[in-house]
Subunit: 104 residues, 2 copies
């Protein structure tokens, strides 16, 4: 097996560390069903506090995984959706989940 | 999409958090090539300190991902290998790596 360890290390670890943060996997799974408003997360993940939800959405936005759009409505509403980079996480989240379900 | 959020959460997060720990992905990849002695890791991952390597191998053993065998040799040697649970991580580590290479 040929592995370029030097190049694997920082990128793999940045990705895996983000995916391992509390609630990140679940927020991504909720968004896989389609764009969501802030309140939709509160409905689907009632145990997640508003403060932590905001924080995680901001981190995911900074990583280019989630896009945030302010809708021109009254009252103003904010919509969150996965970017292409975010949608590409589907098999990643799924394989982690499958492994965890089989072995934990 | 039907998602059982309550059951996903703790198991997924335990798995993802472990995989996101520094060096864990690389140690698993080294072991995918076959059983290894302690010194083999030092060769293949020269930037990983002995202290941290011991710590990570112990964690992986506690998670049932790595098995440790003391070989009856002189001097005594210790061999590390992946368990079935550990080998099953191959597609997980690979999809994380592929996503990270594509997007980071």
């Amino acid at each position: 097996m040929s592995v370029d360890y030097s190049s694997m290390c920082p990128r793999y670890e940045a990705a895996a560390a983000l995916l391992g943060k509390k609630w990140v996997g679940l927020i991504i799974r909720v968004l896989m069903a389609g764009p969501k408003h802030f309140g939709d997360f509160r409905c689907q993940l009632p145990q997640l506090s508003e403060r932590l939800l905001s924080e995680r959405l901001k981190e995911l936005e900074e990583h280019g995984i989630v896009a945030r759009t302010v809708l021109e409505s009254r009252p103003v509403r904010v919509e969150y959706r996965l970017t292409d980079k975010g949608r590409d996480l589907e098999p990643v989240v799924r394989t982690i989940q499958e492994w965890a379900e089989t072995w934990y």
